[in-house]
Symmetry: C2
Subunit: 405 residues, 2 copies
């Protein structure tokens, strides 16, 4: 029998969202007469924009014709999309990121995991606590996490986030090689200002660290003092990779398209001290282990950058932000402590009475009939909290909140 990757042996069996799904299904089965509103999973509910739909129908038609057929595309993504991203997400916002720095993919979750192929297995990884569980689980699978003791992985560096530090962690005391930062944050919904993020870029420059900056939620930022891209910070191109997605911006969760920016200025070293651009390593990884994002999805993504598409992004994110605001206000009015929900689709809440996350989850499900995501699933500092999302329909959000009221 073959020897398998032993790191899987260390991982807890169940993945957070599957466990929530399982408990919701069990509740539904036990209470068939009760309606359950899913306020847990971060999945969009609004249909795709007309400009995106039209572009995808066109792309499908091209594939039906001998003369316009598209087979294998560039593993890095089509130039039409890389150029549109560079122009609209960076150049037009005063940031010098070029098409060659941009790699289109089937989504942020794949890229976060696959990036682990390019940095050393010896790297010490720092994660926010709480955080999107994938950063931790990927580190475990890749053998960078050590072993689990008292709810913490022995080789990970935890960056604690709580109301005392406004959910903005302090710089680590020991040296971190790779630092996962996510702003606007999942799950806390809190965002970061330029002076605060500059501290991290400076730390990375001083310590030779790599920041993997997950900005999947940047389209929700309304406050001009809040960071949308880490490259707004001077010197970040030499220390940071940025991960973006069309999932939350334009409703692509089922279509699968995202991108990762690896600036050519960002360097690493081999064991013999030779320097190498991470851009060329990622390019080699993607050309070897990936074959490009779906042509239809890429054509749809390019339509997001038309004037109609950009107006629709604004409308869709406004819609979800209004849901988040309603959730936040309702919870606060009922005596919960609630955070985020501004410049972010997520609200992070606690009863602040010592009740643990799964209890709080169970209570809200049973009393009010809506599901949330238990904060403990995001790390030890998430215990006592739940995450609620603005991604439901207005109708369902209002219905769920009216039950609390």
């Amino acid at each position: 029998m073959i020897e398998v990757n032993n790191n899987f042996h260390l991982l807890p069996v169940s993945y957070l969202f599957s466990e929530v799904g399982r408990r919701v299904a069990a509740f539904r089965e036990a209470n068939p007469e009760r309606e359950v509103i899913r306020m847990d999973i971060g999945d969009v509910t609004r249909p795709l924009f007309p400009s995106v739909i039209a572009a995808m129908h066109e792309a499908v038609e091209e594939l039906a014709s001998s003369s316009h057929f598209h087979g294998y595309g560039p593993e890095q993504g089509y130039a039409f999309l890389r150029d549109a991203i560079a122009e609209h997400d960076y150049h037009n916002r005063g940031i010098a990121i070029d098409s060659e720095d941009i790699f289109v993919s089937d989504g942020a979750k794949s890229d976060i995991g696959n990036l682990g192929d390019i940095y050393s297995r010896e790297c010490k990884v720092a994660v926010m606590n709480p955080a999107y569980p994938v950063y931790v689980d990927d580190s475990v699978i890749d053998g960078r996490a050590g072993v689990l003791k008292d709810g913490k992985w022995s080789r990970l560096i935890y960056l604690d986030c709580d109301p005392e530090n406004n959910f903005l962690p302090s710089l680590p005391e020991e040296k971190a090689d790779v630092i996962f930062l996510c702003f606007p944050n999942n799950p806390t919904g809190e965002a970061i200002s330029r002076p605060e993020l500059k501290k991290w870029v400076d730390y990375a420059r001083e310590n030779g660290s790599l920041i993997i900056f997950d900005s999947a939620y940047e389209a929700f930022v309304r406050n001009p003092d809040i960071v949308r891209s880490i490259y707004e910070i001077e010197g970040a191109k030499e220390v940071a990779i940025e991960i973006r997605s069309f999932s939350k911006t334009a409703g692509f969760t089922g279509l699968r398209c995202g991108y990762t920016v690896v600036p050519r200025e960002l360097k690493g070293t081999y064991k013999d001290g030779t320097q190498v651009a991470l851009n060329s390593l990622w390019n080699r990884r993607q050309t070897t282990k990936f074959n490009g994002a779906s042509y239809v999805a890429q054509k749809g993504a390019a339509a997001v950058y038309t004037p109609e598409g950009m107006a629709d992004v604004r409308k869709a994110t406004d819609y979800y932000l209004a849901n988040a605001a309603l959730i936040r206000q309702t919870l606060i009015s009922k005596g919960y402590k609630a955070f985020g929900g501004e410049n972010s689709p997520y609200v992070w809440a606690t009863a602040d009475n010592g009740e643990d996350s799964w209890n709080l989850f169970g209570k809200l499900l049973e009393e009010y009939g809506f599901s949330t995501t238990p904060g403990s699933g995001f790390g030890s500092k998430g215990d006592g909290y739940i995450r609620l999302t603005g991604f439901n329909s207005r109708e369902n959000t209002e219905k769920a909140m009216s039950k609390i009221k």
Copy 2:
């Protein structure tokens, strides 16, 4: 500066197909008046089937509507597609593979690379020589290949294929933990019979090996004695993973959809000797580092299994097979030795005069104006050979072959 994965330092800089593309581009630039026909890359050229096109338009329309919108799908693929695969590719051919054994993905290249996450880094890997370069390059990136000496990787086991053994390698003398087999083969175009494949399944059962069986070209098999699925061999479910793709079967190279079969009977061991089903490891890997294939592509793939879709698969593969037969016959009539091209879209040829692959590539490009893939790019045993593909249009194939005549 961060320490990177040192294995990239060991890899040759250029990827085979990029290098071919570069040389073709250079030739075109130097000879702007000459037409160049690409007989090298294994990319399809025929448009997608009407049933697939209709299904994808429908899927796009669903995404335009609030009531039919689809967000995140199951990471393993939608049941409608997994069920269709199980029924048509397995049950209807007398093979007991169920939906739960099937994982839909964005393609075979991703799966081949990502499967490296689930078996131990200590595993000794065997590859056919010649072989699709990705098996070797993935093994290098993952640290299983050792170092390159005289054109061979020190930790890989090479399974030599040549005319003397009809391109069917002998069982390895040292124990192989993971064995990549590809039939019908890329690049040699040769296929395998049941008794021949049974030897490998028996070897794997005796030695506790895992076979990763790449059957991306099974739709080209016409001879009923030739294997389409490794699960036609008794006992294979306990030792083999099978990788399939809609790319060559139904023209999905740009759409991105494939699947991997990990039977629940297939077990491995952790370091402490505990047994674990590879199905559950792959499920954990995919739910953590992947977010499902594009909904539109999955709907298109399901249409491949309608009566119209299946008839169109037959027509499209017949078309490419006729191209391959023409290539094979023409080359043989001109004194080349040519293999494959029956039950396979690939023809493997040599001038058999000691001329190396890149010379042969250069000569055919300059004299006849068509590009081929140099066999040496597939491994040391490929030197002296070139690979030609039947994936071009009939017109271009005839034009290229008429130049030789």
